[in-house]
C-alpha cells in the first residue's frame, strides 16, 4: 500500500492504495465519485473514460500510481463549454436508455469536440468506437454530437 495524492476535478485527495490498483477504483471507491463506471476492466468498453491531463484514458487499465501529479477530470467535474453543450444535447435528444455507459460516451464526445469543432460522421466513428453502448443508443449519440457542435457555432 502506498500513500498517493490524486488531483480530481480541482481537488486533492490523499489515498492509501495498492499502486497497481487501476485508477478507476481509486476514483469510485477511495474518493467516492461513482459517475465513472466499471464495464469490462480491459479497456474494451469505454465506460470508465476520464481525462488525465486533458486526454481521455480508460481508467480501468491505468494503474493509479502512473497518474502522478496530472489533473484528473471525471464526469462530475466537466466544465468546458464543449462538455456543457454535449450534456445539453444528450438531454435534449433523450440519448440515454439504461444510462450506464453514458458517462464514458460523454467524456469521449467532449474530448472530440474540444479537438474538432465540426466533426464529420467519420470523425465521430473514429472518436467514439471505443465506447460500447449495449442499448445501442448510437443513432442519438451521433445526432447529439452534431447538435452540440452546432450549438457551439453560434
Amino acid at each position: 500500500m502506498t500513500q498517493l495524492t490524486l488531483k480530481i476535478n480541482g481537488q486533492s485527495h490523499s489515498i492509501d492504495a495498492d499502486p497497481d490498483m487501476p485508477l478507476l477504483w481509486a476514483i469510485r471507491e477511495s474518493v467516492g465519485l461513482t459517475g465513472t463506471k466499471y464495464g469490462c476492466g480491459v479497456a474494451q468498453c469505454g465506460a470508465c473514460t476520464v481525462f488525465v491531463a486533458g486526454q481521455p484514458v480508460r481508467s480501468c487499465s491505468m494503474p493509479v500510481s502512473a497518474v502522478g501529479a496530472d489533473e484528473i477530470t471525471t464526469i462530475e467535474g466537466l466544465k468546458s463549454k464543449e462538455a456543457l453543450a454535449v450534456q445539453k444535447a444528450w438531454v435534449k435528444l433523450d440519448v440515454p436508455q439504461c444510462g450506464y455507459c453514458q458517462s464514458g460516451q460523454i467524456m469521449s464526445a467532449t474530448s472530440l469536440l474540444e479537438l474538432n469543432a465540426k466533426p464529420t460522421d467519420r470523425d465521430i466513428d473514429l472518436a467514439m468506437n471505443g465506447n460500447i453502448c449495449r442499448c445501442a443508443t448510437y443513432v442519438r449519440i451521433r445526432a447529439a454530437i452534431h447538435d452540440a457542435a452546432k450549438s457551439l457555432e453560434g
Binding site: D18, G39, C40, D94, R134, A136
Partner: protein
C-alpha cells in the same frame, strides 16, 4: 418474456388492498408513505430528494392506515410516480408518469419518478400476479391502472380545492398543474395535497377519451425523466452503492456449469491487504474484501479444486452434432394442419430444405450483475436491480430465515438487463443472501460479478437448431415443416405451469407454431433436450431464433417461387391485418418498389410479431471483406395506442442495434463445457461505426397498447439475411454471420 395472457384487471386493486396485512400496512407507512386517502394514491408533503439508492424514503408517518401508493405530491408541487416496473433503459419511469400526468392534468415539468418498494399486494404486475417486469408488459398492464391513479388524484385535489374555496367542484378546472375557479381563485397541487387526503376516493374515476389526450401519443411534449441524471454521472446503480463498512464480494465460480467445490486453500488470499474473509457458499468460494480491487486480487490468489463429476462437459461442436442428428426426425408435435407428409410425397413442385443454427448468447448488459444486502439477524435491507422483486424477496427471507415482511427490498436503476436481471431460479437473490448468511449479520455485502463472471456465468439464450422443409408448387407455398431442437427455459421453474403445454415449452417454439402466412399443410415439432447449461429469456426470447428461421425461410421459398418478398408475404397474410399493416407501412417508408440502389447494395425485409407488437423492417446493405455493412434500416411498428412516440422510436433503434450486433458477431462457444468468450474482445458488440441510419414509423392504432422493449429485435436478423441473398450470396443459416469475430 411471459406473454400477456389476459388483459389488465383494474378491479384487482381494491382486492389487493383488502388482502394487505397489518404488517404490510405498518411497514409501508413507516417506510414510504405519508397520509393517504385510500386505494390509488398517497398524497403528502414529501420533498423528493433525487434518485439515490437510500435517500428517497420519506419521513415516517404517524398515520397507520393501509396505503396504496403510486403517487406522492410534494409541497413543492412535484408529482413523484412510484413505478412498479424496473427502469433498465426501456422507459417505464417516463411511461408511467405520462399516464398519471395525462389524467391528473399535471404539467410535465412537475413530474418525477422513482421505483416502488417491494410489495406484491400493491405493486404486482397485473399480467403475472407478482411484482416483476418482463414480456414487454409495463405499458400494457399499467395503461388503465395508472390513468386511474391520475384521475383519482385529480378528483381528490379538486374536491379539496372546492371545500377550501367553498365552491362546487364542477366549476373547477385543472390545467398544466394549476387548479382554477371561475371566480379567479387558483392554486397548485402542493397547496391541496394534504387536504386532498380527506377527500373520498373514486373507485372508478372517469377517464379521458383519447381525443382529449394532450400527452399520450403526442410528439415533443414528454421528455424522459431520467436523461439528466444519466448525463451528469449522478444516476445511482447497484454498482455505485458504497455504504460505510460495506464489504465487496467476488465469488470464485466453477469453470463448468454444475461443477462444485472439492476443496480450497485461502491462505494466500487472506494475506492480501484488504481481504477480510473467505467462505464457501453454494455457488463457489466467496472472497470478502474492502473494495473491488482487493476482492479481485484475493480471488486470483485463491486455490480451488473443482469437482466436475456432475458438470456439463459437452462443447458446442458436440451439441451441434447431437442436435443435427435429432433434427433428422420430427419431434413432439406442437402444431399440425392439413396433410403435410402426404403433400411432400405427392411430388411435383420444388422442395427446399434449410438448417438454421443459433448459438448461445449472453445478455452482457453494460452493468455487470451485482446486488447489495445488509442485515442484523432480523431485519434485512437489500437494494439492487431486481427485475422480479417478489420472488427475490421471498428467497432472501428463506435463506436468511427471517420473516418476508422484514425484508426491505427496493429495486434501483439497472444498467441494462435484456432479461438477465429476472431469473426463473432467482439465483442472484439466492446468491446474495447466501453470501450474507455465510459471514453473518453485520456488515453490508455487495456482490459484484466481473465482466468475465457475467459473460461466462450462463443463463444464455438457448442454443437452437431449426430444420425446415418447404414445398413450392405453381408459385405457391403448399407445405411447411419446422423441426426445432432446443432447450427449455421454463422446465422445472415456477413458470412451468404458465408456459408449458404437454411438456413442451412455448418460449422455445413461440413464433414457429403460429406463422403469419396461409400455408395449408403445416407442422411445427420440437425436440426439447436436456443440457446442463443454464438458459434464460433473452430480449424477445424464442423470437430471437424463431423469427429468424421463419422469416429467412419464407423469403427463400418466395424467391424460389419468383415472387417479390413484400408482395408475396402480403398475399399470404389474409388473416393477419396487423402484420400486413406494418409490412405495407415499411414498404412505403423505404420506397421498396421504386428505390434505385447504388451498385453493390441490396435490400431485404422481415416482419415479426412478438408480445402483441408487430414490427417490420427493411435493410439496405453491401458486403465488405469484414462482413455485411448495413447502411440503413427502415422500421414500422404497431404497438396499439402509442403512449410515448419518442421512447417507441428509441426502443426500435436500440432493438435494431442490439439484434444486429448479435446476428453479426455474438457467440458463446463452449469447449468441453467451458464458456470461451469472457469479455467484449471475444464477445464482439456492435459499435457506433457499425450502427446503421434508422427511420421509424409508428402505425396509428386504436388497439390496446402493447410493449416495445423486445419486439424491435427479431426482424433485423432475417432482414439482413434476406438482403444478403439478394446480392446473390448464400443466405446465412448459421449465426453469427461473421464467425470468430473479435475486436
Amino acid at each position: 418474456m411471459i406473454r400477456l395472457e389476459k388483459s389488465f384487471v383494474a378491479t384487482e386493486l381494491p382486492r389487493a388492498i383488502a388482502r394487505m396485512t397489518v404488517e404490510d400496512a405498518t411497514r409501508l407507512s413507516r417506510r414510504s408513505i405519508l397520509k393517504t386517502g385510500a386505494a390509488g394514491l398517497a398524497l403528502g408533503v414529501y420533498l423528493a430528494r433525487g434518485n439515490k439508492a437510500f435517500a428517497q424514503q420519506p419521513p415516517a408517518s404517524p398515520v397507520n392506515v393501509a396505503p396504496n401508493t403510486f403517487l406522492i405530491i410534494g409541497s413543492d408541487n412535484t408529482v413523484t410516480v412510484l413505478c412498479k416496473h424496473i427502469e433498465m433503459g426501456q422507459g417505464p419511469f417516463t411511461g408511467m408518469a405520462t399516464l398519471v400526468a395525462e389524467e391528473l392534468d399535471a404539467d410535465w415539468s412537475q413530474m418525477r419518478a422513482d421505483h416502488a418498494p417491494s410489495n406484491p399486494g400493491l405493486y404486482k404486475n397485473l399480467a403475472f400476479g407478482v411484482q416483476g417486469t418482463g414480456g414487454s408488459t409495463a405499458i400494457a398492464n399499467s395503461f388503465e391502472q395508472m390513468r386511474k391513479v391520475g384521475a383519482s388524484a385529480r378528483a381528490m385535489l379538486v374536491g379539496a380545492a372546492a371545500a377550501e374555496w367553498n365552491v362546487p367542484a364542477e366549476e373547477i378546472t385543472v390545467q398544466n398543474g394549476v387548479i382554477r375557479h371561475s371566480s379567479g381563485k387558483e392554486g397548485r397541487f402542493g397547496e391541496f395535497a394534504e387536504k386532498a387526503n380527506q377527500q373520498p376516493l373514486l373507485e372508478n374515476p372517469k377517464l379521458k377519451d383519447s381525443s382529449q389526450f394532450r400527452l399520450i401519443g403526442k410528439e415533443g411534449v414528454v421528455k424522459r425523466l431520467d436523461s439528466a441524471a444519466k448525463s451528469n454521472g449522478s444516476a445511482v446503480y447497484t454498482m455505485d452503492i458504497n455504504e460505510p463498512g460495506m464489504l465487496t464480494v467476488l465469488i470464485a465460480r466453477p469453470p463448468r456449469f454444475g461443477g462444485t467445490v472439492a476443496s480450497f486453500d485461502a491462505s494466500a488470499t487472506k494475506a492480501i491487504p484488504g481481504v477480510v474473509d473467505v467462505k464457501q457458499v453454494p455457488m463457489g468460494v466467496a472472497v470478502y474484501a474492502k473494495g473491488f480491487w482487493a476482492a479481485r486480487k484475493g480471488r486470483e490468489a485463491l486455490k480451488v479444486t473443482w469437482d466436475d463429476s456432475k458438470a456439463e462437459k459437452r462443447g458446442t461442436a458436440q451439441l451441434l452434432s447431437e442436435f443435427r442428428t435429432l433434427s433428422k426426425t420430427p419431434g413432439k408435435i406442437v402444431k399440425q394442419e392439413g396433410a403435410v407428409d402426404a403433400e411432400f410425397a405427392k411430388g411435383g413442385g420444388r422442395i427446399i430444405e434449410a438448417e438454421f443454427v443459433f448459438p448461445y448468447l449472453a445478455h452482457a448488459a453494460m452493468e455487470p450483475l451485482n446486488s447489495y444486502l445488509k442485515w442484523d439477524g432480523e431485519k434485512v435491507v437489500s437494494r439492487f436491480g431486481s427485475q422480479f422483486p417478489t420472488p427475490d424477496m421471498a428467497v432472501i427471507a428463506k435463506v436468511l430465515g427471517v420473516k418476508p415482511e422484514n425484508v426491505d427490498l427496493k429495486t434501483i436503476l439497472a444498467g441494462g438487463s435484456f432479461g438477465r436481471r429476472a431469473q426463473q431460479t432467482t439465483h442472484i437473490a439466492f446468491e446474495l443472501a447466501s453470501v450474507a448468511k455465510a459471514i453473518g449479520p453485520g456488515p453490508g455485502v455487495k456482490v459484484v460479478w466481473t465482466r468475465e463472471d457475467d459473460m461466462r456465468g450462463g443463463y444464455y439464450r438457448p442454443y437452437a437448431v431449426h430444420k425446415m422443409r418447404g414445398l413450392v408448387r405453381d408459385k405457391k407455398i403448399v407445405a411447411w415443416t419446422d423441426t426445432i431442437v432446443s432447450q427449455s427455459i421454463m422446465k422445472g421453474s415456477p413458470f412451468e405451469a404458465m408456459t408449458m403445454k404437454n411438456g413442451l415449452d412455448s418460449t422455445v417454439y413461440e413464433g414457429s407454431n403460429e406463422i403469419p402466412y396461409d400455408v395449408e399443410n403445416f407442422r411445427c415439432d420440437l425436440h426439447q433436450v436436456e443440457i446442463g447449461v443454464p438458459v434464460l429469456w433473452w430480449r424477445s426470447v424464442g423470437h430471437t431464433h424463431t423469427g429468424y428461421a421463419v422469416e429467412a425461410f419464407v423469403d427463400e421459398l418466395l424467391d424460389a417461387a419468383g415472387i417479390d418478398p413484400v408482395e408475396g408475404r402480403l398475399a399470404l397474410m389474409s388473416k393477419k391485418p396487423r402484420h400486413a399493416g406494418v409490412l405495407k407501412a415499411v414498404a412505403e417508408l423505404s420506397n421498396w418498389k421504386n428505390a434505385k440502389l447504388a451498385p453493390g447494395r441490396a435490400r431485404g425485409v422481415a416482419v415479426v410479431e412478438s408480445f402483441n407488437t408487430f414490427v417490420a423492417q427493411v435493410v439496405e446493405l453491401s458486403m465488405t471483406e469484414e462482413g455485411p455493412k448495413v447502411h440503413k434500416v427502415w422500421c414500422a411498428v404497431d404497438c396499439g395506442v402509442a403512449v410515448n412516440p419518442d421512447i417507441i422510436r428509441a426502443q426500435m433503434e436500440g432493438g435494431i442495434g442490439f439484434g444486429l450486433g448479435h446476428i453479426l458477431y455474438a457467440d458463446i462457444p463452449l469447449e468441453e463445457g467451458r464458456p470461451v468468450s469472457g469479455n467484449f474482445d471475444t464477445y464482439r458488440s456492435l459499435r457506433i461505426n457499425e450502427m446503421p441510419e434508422i427511420e421509424v414509423t409508428i402505425v396509428q392504432s386504436t388497439e390496446k397498447p402493447s410493449g416495445v422493449g423486445e419486439p424491435g429485435v427479431p426482424p433485423i436478423g432475417p432482414a439482413v439475411a434476406n438482403a444478403i441473398a439478394k446480392l446473390g450470396l448464400t443466405r446465412p443459416r448459421q449465426l453469427p454471420m461473421v464467425p470468430g469475430a473479435s475486436v
